[in-house]
Amino acid sequence: MGYTLNFAAVWRSFDQLLEGLLLSLGLAFISILIGTVIGLLVAFALTAKSGWVQRPAAIYVTIIRNLPILVLVLFAYFALPQMGVRLGKIESFVAVLSIYSGAYLAEVFRAGLISIPKGLTEAGLAIGLTLMQIRVSIIVPLMLRNVLPSLSSTVISLFKDTSLAAAIAVPELTFEARKINVETFRVIETWIVASGLYVATCSVLAALMRLVERRLSVPR
């Protein structure tokens, strides 16, 4: 091919990439945090007996999961202002990723909830706990332990979805990489380094999740 790799130009802008990565992590962290709250509420709604509670939750999950996240990102940033809702780039993306992760996490949590024996709720009721206390002290802690393995892949997948923020010029890792690509023409080098950063970050995330899993595992 006769092409010699030269990373010098990329290394000169490495700080920019790191700043981008930091922003990616920040976007993912805040969105997943909000998404976890949404996901928990929706998961309980999905498992509710009342159709008035269950149906809206099911509709939310169905709509969000059947939309490509890029479409949601573009819709929120370009279409919502036309309807009078004007958000900044970052706010708009965080809102979208939160709502998106909420739907995915709701499904993960729901699977964890239905595997918890009903007898545990009854045992809680029998000692005089309210349903809310039972959820907080018994059901959610057990559900989280149940779902940690699948939660790990969802979290990593949501982190990677932050790259779509580049589409609306949020200066996260992918956006910064594209900028360096355009400025230096070191196309191959730039994307190799950006890819390396994604892989490394995801590996660290996976290791962290495994650590949490081990720390929370119940001795038997």
């Binding site: 024996p117 545990l120 009854e122 809680g124 009721l125 029998a126 000692i127 005089g128 309210t130 002290s137």
Partner: protein, 256 residues
């Protein structure tokens, strides 16, 4: 006679169109140990579960120390009490289940402490002391920091009994507590229940252990098809059953 603890009047319960309790009447005094026997589907477990509102019931009343359990009558309208009220009433009774239902992510001590801390608002160190006292009573002082998964079935059931008793209930409900146990583990659980009976604890037991019902009960209730078919002292009931039904049931049970 000591004072009335529990009064069940015309208790009716249906699942859809199937009536499982067809008007049960029963009065229980403080300190009584009553065993409820009968074939499966006779409604004995359902009746027990109505007493702490794990089951809703459509007709009749349950009074614990004179207070209506679960429902209140406002004029001609009968409505379910608030969840807060029901939770408070549930804490007046303790229940042990067939499947133990220990919280698997908590140690034995934490299982016992949870209700003390969250319901009785007891400080943690005080709750810990109460938990240890009761675990000691069921012979599991050395297992306080074990998780349910590290205990045998018999030990788990004893922790579950300690968890219920630690709340200092007015009445203990036992729902076939030995049915899920290996035969060699049944004895240790029955021993604990006998100890409680000797202490004067008021208890209602749904059981298939006829020999145990005979030994521990002050009274036995035989249920059949959603009604109380016969009741009396165990000596009378097991030796000279008055009804054909009971005689038949005893023949097929493990009593002899």
């Amino acid at each position: 006679m000591s004072k009335v603890l529990l009064e069940i009047q015309g208790l009716r319960k249906q699942y859809g169109t199937v009536e499982v309790l067809k008007g049960v009447d029963c009065t229980m005094h403080e300190g009584e140990v009553i065993s409820i026997i009968g074939s499966s589907g006779s409604g004995k477990t359902t009746m027990l579960r109505c007493i702490n509102m794990l089951e809703e019931f459509q007709g009749g009343r349950i009074l614990l120390e004179g207070e209506d359990i679960g429902y209140e009558q406002a004029g001609s309208v009968r409505r379910r009490k608030s969840e807060k009220d029901i939770a408070r009433q549930r804490a007046l009774t303790g229940m042990a289940f067939q499947q133990f239902n220990l919280f698997p992510h908590m140690t034995a001590a934490h299982n016992v402490m949870l209700g003390l801390v969250k319901v009785k608002r007891m400080p943690r160190d005080e709750a810990r002391a109460v938990a240890e006292k009761w675990l000691d009573r069921v012979g599991l002082a050395s297992r306080a920091d074990h998780y349910p998964g590290q205990l045998s079935g018999g030990q788990q059931q004893r922790v579950a009994i300690a968890r219920a008793i630690a709340m200092n209930p007015r009445l203990m409900l036992f729902d076939e507590v030995t049915s899920a146990l290996d035969p060699e583990l049944v004895g240790e659980v029955l021993q604990v229940i006998k100890g409680l009976a000797a202490d004067g604890m008021s208890m209602l037991l749904v059981t298939h252990e006829m020999r145990f019902a005979y030994e521990v009960s002050s009274r036995v209730i035989f249920m059949n098809q959603g009604v109380i078919c016969e009741e009396g002292e165990p000596k009378e009931m097991f030796v000279r059953p008055k009804t054909e039904r009971l005689a038949e049931f005893l023949k097929t049970s493990s009593f002899n």
